[in-house]
């Protein structure tokens, strides 16, 4: 009899542990059971990716439609090549869409925002977005501002 309660206790313990792992997977890390792998790949070249990281989200109209999977330097054009996995459901991105690196809030994370273009043709798997807007680099901005004020002083 005592053995029985002991075994039930152990069973409950094992169950609780596995349940905890399941909770962590589904509730905390937001893992979806069916990933489907239904995505396609899109490239974009940026002059400066400044702070964009792998796993950053790709959004359109504020809705997340994919994520950044790789960032590397394109040796020929000296630009940063960002590889993005875009949701297979969003298969109607016009080929002249614009990709820009944006910042969530003032100090927030960087992400890629895609604004829709007007072309009839759509981006296929492995396609490249040509119209890009680089990340806003605060240092450049300050530099320009300082240069402007110096120039103004000279003309006065």
């Amino acid at each position: 009899m005592q053995n029985r309660t002991l075994e039930i206790g152990v069973g409950l313990f094992l169950l609780a542990g596995l349940l905890a792992l399941l909770l962590l997977a589904l509730r905390v890390s937001g893992l979806t059971v069916v990933t489907g792998e239904n995505t396609y790949r899109v490239y974009a070249h940026f002059d400066n990716i400044a702070g964009l990281t792998v796993r950053a989200k790709v959004t359109m109209a504020g809705v997340t439609i994919g994520k950044v999977t790789a960032i590397d330097l394109d040796r020929d054009s000296y630009t940063g090549r960002v590889t993005m996995e875009v949701d297979g459901d969003v298969n109607n991105l016009p080929i002249d869409s614009t990709a820009s690196i944006l910042t969530a809030g003032l100090l927030g994370e960087k992400y890629v925002g895609i604004s829709v273009g007007g072309d009839e043709e759509v981006l296929a798997d492995g396609g490249t977005i040509h119209d890009t807007q680089s990340s806003l680099v605060l240092e450049d901005l300050i530099g320009k501002f300082l240069l402007n004020s110096v120039n103004k002083d000279e003309t006065n």
Partner: protein, 265 residues
């Protein structure tokens, strides 16, 4: 105290080194023989269940209670700092990542070393000093199989499960403080957490950490008991060593594992 010649000091130093190496070697042979040695002890599963009960189930209370409180404290502290930057919603992300990556595995291992490890050492040490182990060997039952192996496996199985329970309970405690008490919006609390916690990077790496800790802590605890001097003083020293060595090993290994897992920025 008698003054020792330099040569004598050198000899003592050498002997200390040999002792350390011999203990390490003994512990490795001990582990291999306990885990992979031949010879079955009929009702292995039943022995394992019994140990799972006394090691795992009986540790649940301390794990759950400390998990809740640590989660709540993390939430409070994180909130007071994050509120300065106006990003209180990130408190969920902070609590979850801290618990999954570090505090879950580490605190569980430390508590486990104190709660279950010391008990294992004392129990086996006492069996040794009352010559139960040698009696077992005399009647043809391998104490490594009958006494040691079930305890080792029970430790390996329970600690990762306890660490998962610790993290879940801690996150729940953190959510309770943040959402109910501090007034963080519930939706953004969970959404922020889900967007930043990755299953493979954070949950699985935490699980791997706790598996490693389980291995080390249980090994140290059982070996210290098996290898102790069979006197009451020897048992007490072995129990102390278990807690000290296990805690140090966990904290040191945690740094190495963290550097390997999350170090490549």
């Amino acid at each position: 105290m008698r003054k020792q010649s330099p040569l004598e000091r050198l000899r003592l130093f050498g002997r200390a080194g040999i002792d350390v190496l011999a203990t390490l070697g003994r512990s490795c042979i001990f582990l291999v023989r306990a885990l992979f040695g031949r010879g079955t002890s009929g009702n292995a599963l039943q022995l394992l269940v019994k140990q799972l009960y006394s090691i795992g189930v009986m540790s649940l209370a301390i794990i759950v209670v400390s998990g809740v409180f640590i989660g709540m404290v993390l939430s409070l502290q994180g909130f007071s700092i994050l509120a300065k930057y106006g990003s209180e919603q990130a408190v969920g992300q902070m609590v979850a990542l801290t618990l999954l990556r570090e505090l879950g595995p580490v605190v569980t291992a430390l508590l486990f070393a104190g709660r279950a490890g010391s008990a294992l050492t004392a129990e086996i040490g006492n069996m040794k000093s009352t010559e139960q182990l040698s009696s077992l060997a005399m009647i043809g039952v391998d104490p490594l199989k009958y006494i040691v192996a079930p305890r080792l496996w029970a430790g390996f199985i329970s600690m990762p499960l306890l660490a998962m329970i610790f993290s879940v309970v801690g996150i729940w405690g953190g959510a309770m403080v943040a959402v109910e008490w501090l007034g963080v919006y519930e939706g953004s609390f969970w959404a922020n957490m889900q967007s930043s916690v990755s299953f493979r990077e954070d949950v699985l790496n935490g699980l791997i950490k706790s598996l490693v800790f389980a291995f080390v802590v249980t090994w140290i605890a059982v070996f210290q008991g098996y290898d102790c001097e069979p006197t009451s003083e020897g048992i007490s020293r072995a129990t102390t060593r278990t807690v000290v060595y296990a805690s140090l090993a966990v904290l040191g290994l945690d740094f190495i594992l963290t550097a390997l897992m999350f170090g490549d920025f």
